[in-house]
Subunit: 573 residues, 2 copies
């Protein structure tokens, strides 16, 4: 590509609404251009990266036996009603009526459509397994679109869907996809981690997320450096930190703690470690029989894990209780709540660690008072015990093979075992060897194509700009002639080198714009092309060009006669 | 590709709602699968064809200097309001509100977005010309979606937009695109014709359509076999068939024509040729000053051209008059209308041919009566004269170089000179050499990617199925082993041949499904792969394979040792 036939548009400053580095750099490098909230033009430079990401994904999906098709963007509501998701999906799913008043979804994902397709196309066990995928524009009407391509509303996703005869088959298809994802992320040249994850709203029985490691990641990834345990913090098992409950040693004493409503303050006032305190979180659940109020107890230094809370039997549809509800059930305000002598009966859930504590401090359900020496059984009944907290760095690994560490990640892929979640509602069956209809077992597998760009940059940048991994860079090599528009010798050498590299299939751009060297170098450092060759008058007189890798701080002179081989070696790795 | 790792799904019969051959064959060949009205899944077999079409389009667009980007599907209403098209587009444009109640268009086309992009990116004359294109999903909520991919609601289009400093530049960009389109359609291997066209609702000053020739085409293409004149019938100039008006020779006579309301019947009754009659068409226009009724006069054997009628000054927004309006203005019912003695004043437009007729027959504005011997000036004032009819086969070519022929075509491409239609409304300016802002001159260029598939089939099929041109066939070569699942020698030879072809970059599919030969051959003839090689036990004993081209009626034996060279020669053309 010659720069004069391409479109390069860089900015010195990022627009002020760009919050994170990848968003800023993509705008400055002219990769994307905002059209509306969470909606971007993919500019020529950005589109090249997207196409490279897509090509790698496509190759590895095909290699893994998945078959590409393309499902529609505008999907009839009827299919979404079959699975109940028309109602469940909420405002994130954009809905539209056609001229006849019929309802359609602008697809956020395609489980329903692919299941509909498969239930009519697949008749016999002989046709299974199948795995269909497409790479396609999606729309999700995020409440707060932000961070450029990281949380846009319109974005590109690869979504694949496997169908199998039974659970074992599904697990095998899942494993094949998991392995393909590992190859894909390796080929991207990104540091990543696959972690066990929560299935969330999509349903089903098991899933893994693929995260690009970056300090700016929204997710906390829990892993064990001495084993292969890894999970999103949402799904990471927190073991009890106290293995057995000690007998009560202290009397229950109601203690004044005026204006101390936080565990930290109460512990400080009482001269006790924070780990002796218990904090209270109040949830409400609307049931047919009426409202239930639940009290969740965590050790003072721990944090509630909202996903885990939702898995406690009976808490599926919880919300946080209002202050007036708290007053009605506990007789006091937040900050002084506890499990002993509530005003009205509440259901009590203790985190695994709290369940094994003795002689602890908790609110007394009276303003400005806490209990010390609180003990299970003696002072209050045994609670329901559940894992409801986030693990913390240093916790024992659930596999017993070490202690846990935490790092930040950006979710870019997710694989799910869905089982018959969709095939059951949509009656997607095949005939087995005996001629009996059986439900297909399904998996689904997503990669956020456009989000990869943001994640790659969050992991790879410096103060000059983006540092693309070679496999997804918009161009692999840039040729920077000094004075292309006014120095014949430089122009001739640059053109010759360009033609030679093109003939050898190198993805090269020749900057023939005639920009001043400083501006030209700054552009390509911002854009993040991994390999740069400078063709200058002075060097030419000595028969040399200058090579500089994007992460290098100074150039290397290379004799003209060796430049082809030199570049080949650099590109090889 | 091995068939066992692909997805092949053929049908003996097409669903009953498929009306035209391409729609039927695409459904039967498993290329597409209906999801909703005008909305299709592109199945793996069909998607391969789409990708090949896209690749050819992309290569030629890039070669012509256009730059690929990707504009969003969901576009803010504000931009469409700037050009007034938010209101003008009507129900074909799907509109959607986001969770905050903001209006968006699901884009049917991207003039507004690209003009917005260019007005902020392009500052100086030095940056022009530019030509941006994307290949993308579009949605148009057609009133009556039909014919499969031919008139779907969701479809894929390539749309390009050029911006120039002045009209000459625009015309040059237009010519470059025109030439690129010729290359593209040649590479598709389709018979096509470029014709001058009407600009329609998109506006601007000139355009050409590219049509795939097919008897089933919706459009009539007018061309002159002895010159390069070619136009869509909507835009083809109809010259007067009578060069000069003869003096009146007959008296005006009111003649009873009971129950003869059609020109054909009146002519037969009176024993006159149809070419002596004049037919009346009544249009209404709502103006601020009130309703206007217009009478358009055509020779009895001619047809109204509705596009041309709309270009008569004052008729821009016409509709056909209702029967009650006709009664009010003419005092009688349709079938007996004419220009003489209307009940209320009407504006009269005569086609160029009618304007030169003398002693003609027309309705008498009285039920069951016509006039004979009607003459301009003597019996009624001179009319407004305009070209308002469709040309017919044998008319003189407007370029004076022969007579016109007509064939049917399917519109698959359209290039437009838009001028400043959009840049004016959206203030898309650049600074000229003198530092003064000037409006950019714009062109736009579309290709209906998915419609190409339908058009290619309408032109290339037989009673066995589709006959793809090699350049866009889903596979170039199919290997059909007879008994792949049970004959070791056949399997070994088929695998070897397959591996060899793959290694040589041939786009080949090996049918390793173990189907019976009849079903296997029928599948591939239906799917339309251009080259077939049969590997059979009997042939192998004689060291031969059988080759058959899709248009051939019998196979050619080819010695195994020569098969590579044989196929290479076939693929070369």
């Amino acid at each position: 590509m010659r720069a004069s036939r391409f479109f390069i548009s860089t900015l010195k400053e990022a627009p002020s609404d760009a919050e994170i580095i990848s968003h800023k750099l993509m705008l400055r490098a002219g990769m994307i251009k905002r059209l509306g909230s969470g909606i971007y033009n993919y500019m020529p430079m950005g589109l090249r990266v997207i196409r490279k990401v897509e090509a790698i994904v496509r190759e590895e999906m095909n290699r893994a036996g998945a078959v590409e098709l393309l499902m529609p963007l505008v999907q009839p509501a009827e299919l979404w009603q079959e699975t109940g998701r028309w109602d469940k999906m909420g405002p994130e799913m954009m809905r539209v009526k056609d001229r006849h008043g019929r309802d359609y979804a602008i697809q956020p994902t395609s489980e329903e459509v692919v299941t509909d397709l498969v239930r009519t196309e697949i008749k016999s066990y002989r046709q299974l397994p199948v795995n269909f995928y497409h790479i396609q524009t999606k729309f999700r009407d995020e409440r707060r679109p932000r961070f450029g391509l990281m949380r846009g509303r319109e974005f590109t996703m690869k979504d694949a869907y496997s169908f199998d005869r039974n659970v074992e088959g599904m697990q095998q298809s899942y494993r094949i996809m998991y392995d393909a994802y590992v190859r894909i992320f390796n080929r991207f040249g990104l540091q990543f981690r696959a972690v066990a994850a929560d299935n969330g709203a999509i349903g089903g029985s098991g899933s893994h997320e693929f995260h690009v490691i970056a300090d700016t990641g929204e997710d906390a990834l829990v892993y064990c450096p001495s084993s292969d345990y890894a999970a999103n913090i949402e799904a990471a098992d927190a073991l009890p930190l106290i293995s057995m409950r000690a007998p009560a040693a202290q009397p229950l004493v109601k203690t004044p703690t005026p204006e101390k409503s936080k565990c930290e303050d109460v512990a400080a006032l009482l001269g006790l470690p924070l780990t002796r305190t218990v904090k209270s979180i109040v949830l409400a659940v609307e049931k047919n029989e009426g409202k239930e109020i639940w009290l969740l107890l965590l050790r003072g230094d721990h944090e509630l894990n909202e996903v885990k809370a939702g898995k406690v039997p009976g808490l599926g549809e919880y919300r946080f209780a209002s202050e007036s509800e708290i007053f009605e059930w506990f007789g006091t305000k937040p900050g002084y709540l506890g499990p002993i002598n509530t005003k009205k009966p509440v259901k009590i859930v203790a985190d695994r660690t709290v369940a094994n504590m003795s002689d602890f401090v908790c609110g007394a359900n009276e303003e400005d008072f806490h209990y010390t020496g609180a003990n299970w059984v003696r002072d209050m009944p045994e609670p329901v015990v559940a894992d409801i907290r986030n693990v913390v760095e240093g916790d024992a690994s659930p596999d017993g093979k070490g202690t846990l560490a935490i790092q930040r990640g950006i979710e870019v892929g997710h694989v799910f075992q869905l089982g018959d979640r969709y095939s059951r509602d949509m009656k997607a069956t095949y005939l087995d060897e005996g001629g009996k209809p059986q439900l297909m077992q399904m998996g689904c597998y997503g990669i956020g194509i456009t989000r990869i760009l943001g994640a790659a940059i969050e992991q790879n940048f410096d103060d000059k700009g983006i540092i693309w991994p070679a496999s997804i860079a918009p161009f692999e090599v840039v040729l920077c002639p000094m004075g292309y528009d006014r120095n014949e010798a430089v122009k001739a050498e640059a053109d010759k080198l360009y033609d030679g590299l093109v003939a050898n299939g190198v993805d090269v751009i020749l900057d023939d714009r005639g920009e001043r060297p400083g501006a030209m170098f700054a552009d390509w450092e911002l854009i993040g092309v991994p390999h740069r060759i400078v063709i200058g008058d002075r060097g030419l007189k000595e028969g040399a060009l200058e090579y500089q890798g994007r992460r290098e701080t100074s150039p290397t002179p290379v004799p003209i006669s060796q430049i082809g081989e030199f570049i080949r070696a650099k590109l090889a790795g």
